[in-house]
Structures are given as structure tokens and as C-alpha cells.
Homo-oligomer: 459 residues x 2
Amino acid sequence: MTAPALSALSALLGDRFSTARPVCAAHAQSETHIRTGLPDAVVFPETSAEVAAILRICAAHRLPVIGWGAGTSLEGHALPLHGGVSVDFVRMNRVLSVSPEDMLVRVQPGITREDLNRELRATGLFFPVDPGANASLGGMAATRASGTTAVRYGTMRDAVLGLEVALADGRLIRTGTAAPKSSAGYDLTALFVGSEGTLGLITELTLRLHGQPEAVSAAVCAFASMGAAVDCVIETIQSGLPMARIEFLDPAAVAACNAHAQQNLPLAPHLLVEFHGSPAGVAEQAARFGEIAESHDCTGFRWAEKPEERSALWRMRHAAYPACLASRPGATAIVTDVCVPISKLAEAVEETRADIAESGIPGPILGHVGDGNFHAILLIDSESRAEAATAKALASRMAERALRLGGTVSGEHGIGMGKLAYMQAEHGDAWAVMGTLKHALDPDNILNPGKLVPPHDAG
Amino acid sequence: MTAPALSALSALLGDRFSTARPVCAAHAQSETHIRTGLPDAVVFPETSAEVAAILRICAAHRLPVIGWGAGTSLEGHALPLHGGVSVDFVRMNRVLSVSPEDMLVRVQPGITREDLNRELRATGLFFPVDPGANASLGGMAATRASGTTAVRYGTMRDAVLGLEVALADGRLIRTGTAAPKSSAGYDLTALFVGSEGTLGLITELTLRLHGQPEAVSAAVCAFASMGAAVDCVIETIQSGLPMARIEFLDPAAVAACNAHAQQNLPLAPHLLVEFHGSPAGVAEQAARFGEIAESHDCTGFRWAEKPEERSALWRMRHAAYPACLASRPGATAIVTDVCVPISKLAEAVEETRADIAESGIPGPILGHVGDGNFHAILLIDSESRAEAATAKALASRMAERALRLGGTVSGEHGIGMGKLAYMQAEHGDAWAVMGTLKHALDPDNILNPGKLVPPHDAG
């Protein structure tokens, strides 16, 4: 079925269709250790109508279709597990319209987060979801991404107001409206957000924007224990203080950041916080946070009120991943991602720390602690099968621990190929329901096959 | 198929099964002018397992199943269009657990909003979604309800973290976890929220709570025009001021409230606002709102800082519906509900006002203006077919106007039977997708048949 489909795609797209090996290989690369074969072809559509036409061709020939954004997935979402066509959205990267009064923007899926915010700068508005990587908005929606600012501004679930989606049969549908809320029928927007390209390809997004904060303040402080840091976070949240970010670094992550960013933080659990608001509001929030932190015996409390101090602080946090990588030269990282109820966070992190310590593998921990979400960066010798197996077992126990504590195996990185093994345990019969929905919308299983839902014959 | 199903239900539930005419008639009543026949029976389950067993019996005999909460729907959601069994959740009205550290509560679907907040009072937490009526939480989730506080705290889409749902085949599934976010698979929680009992019956909810605000302030002010009031709202939102409520009353609504609540507000467009926060934060927000309102030439600005003044103000707003009803003695109300982008709100309201004025029917307008959501309370002589037809035409033009302006035909009241005629116009092919999903999860169409999705044979 492949050859006639590829001919039709070539005829449709001309030089925006490629079967060149380097192009295909670039679309089988991943930020992770996960590897697959190559796609049969890569296409570069420029319009929604072209995406729909691509899907009609692939549907007619039952050829797999995999969306490709910026390639920053950490779970192998966009890898062609069964060959097929990789649909690269790099040429669909425009801002279609900005509506400042409604604080909305319509974009094509290939635009990256940083490019979007660059284009928005003059409007006084910004798009807040920040997963760290300069991901594409389509990819961020498809994986329900979040990051450091979710505690204040929410995740992609909250940020996406509406979508245009190309379905498996080539129909283009619109979900949601430009009104801020609706109770008119099933929430298809929410169904497609996080569906990882298995129900349709996102061809357009309407996103909620926020006003650039008038004032920002940030601080860093150390705690005697993870438990004390988490208790501080819980009390801060309960007091209603609207933190814009509240990030956790464990002592191993602090050590890596110290070395990488020429800092000199004590080797203790740390919180990094940021407040957004009016000058007076931020000052009040900062003062109240300081009181709460002190009541939990924080030490080394330091405000970074000047923009350059703040930048240095967040540069350090955003560079934590390369800093951790650099802490074990030549190592490969397996980045885990679990999320638990905040009341269980100290327990989850402490158990994970002990488990990592026992394993002998370095594994700094950092997290979006306001969401109960944390990552261990497991640093393994990429040549060592034994270390890979150890890391896999650690990651597996983290996932099981998260479920035991009432949480989820994926806070923000999605399922892709890396987390499929835990779906049954997390969702029970609800996983089969996901399979039923997938089968209803994509009966021939051409959309990102092998991902997210139970194997097709088991559905 | 009905008699053997009813025997089985009777055997299962004993005296919690009824075919008594008054009981059945009570479950065919509605807050609206919409009327249907009676259900064949009413059941009163006490556990999720019983709900599942009811569904297995009804599935085996293909008997329709309609969930029943508090009966406050404004669109006839819970009416038995094709007979069947009304599942009344009144006996499933317990708080199952409160987790203050995680700011979560697990409840059964039959508990009402006011009962829940009464039970939470000692915890310092509250459940913010407030549709006015003392609805059940299961019903509020099923219709994706919102209300006066959505501008700050969101709608049921945001408030529901997880569900237990009994499916058409009697399987019980859990959606979501107790973690604050997740990227693990399809967002089934969001799919069931707003599905109006057509995909499953909600048997348990995990809800997000908020801290009771330390300080509250409220104000009322008048504007020369609807446009000036909306511009004030837009500027307030863009400035990032976290309003807890911002409500609009048109001059006709003000007149009704004046008469009903012994107020003496000028007959002009009014905004009622409320801020929640720390004492200093609320004071700052209030001052900034005052400046913004003055720059839009507001008049009669009055703060209600004392609890009793504030209560009087919101009592007046919450009684606006009976006040409007009382303004035309003996009248029946048709309550409309549309939502548009905020930039189009003044246009939508002004056109609607002119249309109503021309019709000769009284129709005060009030709205949750921070969400672009407003209602006209069309007051008709219930004996007059001509007035009913006029009101229906007005409501129809409101829906068309909302769609033309990029909005939705239902901001918060759902689809039920009242809005089904607009679904194709709002959603296009996405409505057929809703039908596909419904058919996949409920192939025999036993769950609230005749509601929300396209007619089954057209699916």
C-alpha cells in the first residue's frame, strides 16, 4: 500500500515531500534512548487543507501518519513505530491572528513557544506555558505539556481554547469557540489535547494569553528536609498566594547547578519561587511567602528583585537538565516524570531519593513542586546495559510509587512509547475506553499507531 | 422490554424502586416550559455498585436511563424523552473524604452545592462554582455548569479533577487521579464533564477546593452605556486584576431588582464586582478597579465593604431571576444563555436589547460579563401562543447572533432539549464526531437518548 500512497503524496506536495534518507532519519530522532525505524517519507504541509489531503491519501492506502513538531518529546511520541508518513509542521508556523481584547491568539501548530512570545511582545500579552524546551505549540497541545508556570497559569489543558483538527478520514473539524467558556456538547478540545496524534492532527490552535506581569519577584531558599520544603509549599498554596512558579531542587541537583552555573548554594533541598503581579501585590506576596518559609526553618533566604539576579536564578533552573548531564560526563539521561497529590510529595521524593541512592546511579531530582510533579534525571553510562536496566527498574518503581500514592505516571511528558506499559495500571478499564474512542475515530489505526491506547487487536 | 427490566430493578432495589405516578411525575418536571412524558420508573441507588447494576439491567433490556440530580436544569436535560428509568441520586449525597492538604474533596453525585459548602465550612476551604440554583454536583458536572464566580475560579471543567463513571454496559471506570495534573492519556474527565448523561452516569467526583478568602470586598457602579461597562471589564481583565465576580445588569434588570429588593439604583447599565484576597490585596485591587471604572465615566460608585452591605448586594443579584419574574405577574420565563468573545459582548448585548425592545416582550438582561456570558429573561404570558412564538424567535436570533460573533449557543446551561437545534450550526462536522463517540460508548443508545448528539440513525 505504501508506493501508491507515496506517489500521491509526492504529486500533491512536490518538493515538500521527501523520502531522502537524511530527512527520514531526522524524523526518527528523539531526545530519548528510544529508537525506531525510519518513516517511509516526510511531508511539509503549508495549510490545513493540505494536511486533510495528506490524511485522505494515507487513509485510502492505510499508511500510518505521525505528526512532527519540534522533536523535543521525551517519550518518543513522534517516532514512526510502524513506518508511514511523518507530517512535519515546520512550514505551518504562523500567527494567524491576535485578539488583544479577548486575550487570544490563533496560531498554526508548528510555531514554537519562543517564537510565539517574540511575536506577542509588543502586545503586552504573553503565552505562559513553559515546558523548558522550545517546543512547538501543536506538540505541546498534543502531549498536554506544562512546566514551571503551571502552578499559576495551568497546563495546555487550560491554555487551549479551541482547535482545528484533521481527522483520520480527512475531515477538518473545529472544536470550541472564541467565547471564554461553553457548555455546548462534548469537550472535544480537551479530548484532542493530550491525544498524542492518535485521534487527529492539530492544524490550528486558539490559545489563551495573559497580561505580561507589571512586576516580578523571585527568591531562593534552602530547607533542612524535603518534608519541610513541601510543608512550606502546601501552606503557601493554602494561603491563596498566587505563585507564578515554585520549583524544587534536591541536593544532587543543587550540586550540579552550582558546578554548571557558578553558584554557591548550600547542598540542601531548595525552593525557587517567583511572583507576578502589581508592584505592591508582588511585594506583599513575597513578604508573606518569606514568613511562611521562615516558619518552616528555611535558611539562606535570598530575594532576587533585580531583573539580572532573577534571570541568573531562572537561567540556572532552566539549565538544570544540561547541568545534571554535565555532572556525569558522557552520560545519557533517562528523564522520569511523575506527579502525586501534594500531600504525598515529600514521601514520594524521599522514597525515590533513597531508591536512587541505593542503585548507585546518579539521579538528581527537580520538580514543579506546586503541582506535585517531579523528575529524576537518571544518568547512565550509555554503553552499560546493566545501568540501563537499573535505571529502567528505578523509573518503573517511581511510576508504581506514584500510582500507589494516588498520582499519575506522567505529569507532563505524556505517554508516547516510554509510558505505555503503565497505562493499564493507572487507568484500569478506562484504558480500554480510550481504545474504544480511538477505534471509533480511527478505525484503520493510521494515526500514530502503537501509541497511547491498548494494542489495536486487544481494543 | 420494559416489564422484565422493571422486575429486575425492583428485585435489586426493593422500596428504592418506584413506579408510583407522583414519583414518576416528579421526575418529569422541569424548571422550563419543556415537557415530556413520564419515566417508567424511578430508582434511588445508594452505591456506585448499585448504579452499575441498574445499568447492566437496563442494557440487557435496552431500557433508557436518565440521571436525576436536583432537577434544576434549565434545558430539560433530565426529562425522559423516551420513557425509561430515572436514576435519582438523592440518596448518594455524601462527602466521602476531604483532603485539606491537597485541597480536594471526594463526593457522591447527589450532594448539593450548598450542602457541600456547609460541610466544608470548618476546613477553611470552599467549593467556588456557583450557578445560582442549589444544584447537585453530579448534575453540575454533567452540564458543565458555571456561574458568577467562573471568571476567577473557572467552571466545572476546571473544578472536577476526577470522576467515577458507570458506563452503558455497567462497567465502573475511574478517570483522573488525585495529582493536580496529568498527561497520561485521553482526558476522559473532560469528556464526561458536560456529556449530560449521554456517555455514562457519574457516580463519584473528586473536586478542587479553594481557600476561603481572608478578605472580600464588593462594589456596584453604573455606566452611561453597555459599551462603556464592557470596556471597563476588558481593561480590568487585561490589567490582571483577579476579580472574583463581575456581573452585569441592564436597566430593565436593575428596575426589577430595585422593585424586588427595595434598592434605588439608577436605571442604567450596572456592574457588580467582588474581590477575594488578603486585606491589603483586596484593598489594592478595589482601588485599581475604581480608577479603571472612573476612566470609563462610571457613576454612583459604591463600595460594600461591610459584610451586611455585601450580602445585600449579592442577595439582590442572586434574586434577580425571581425579581424579573415578579416584574410581570403571572408570567413564565424563558431563560436564554449565550456566550461570546468579550470584545463582542457590547455588540451582542446591544443588538439583543434592541431585538427584545422591538418584540414587545419584557426581557431584562443580566450576565457574567467577565466570561462574555449573558442571559435574557424573556417574560411571556404562559397562555399566549403568540408570545411563546415571539420568545422562541428571540432566543433563536440570540443563538445565531452568538455564533456569528464567534461565540457559543450555551455558556453554562448546557444543551438538553432546548439547544439541540443549534448544535449543527455551532459545531459543523464536530457534531457528527460527538455522535460517533456516543455510539462507540453507548451503541444501544440507552443513556439519556434524544439529547446532545445527532439523532441515532443519523449518526
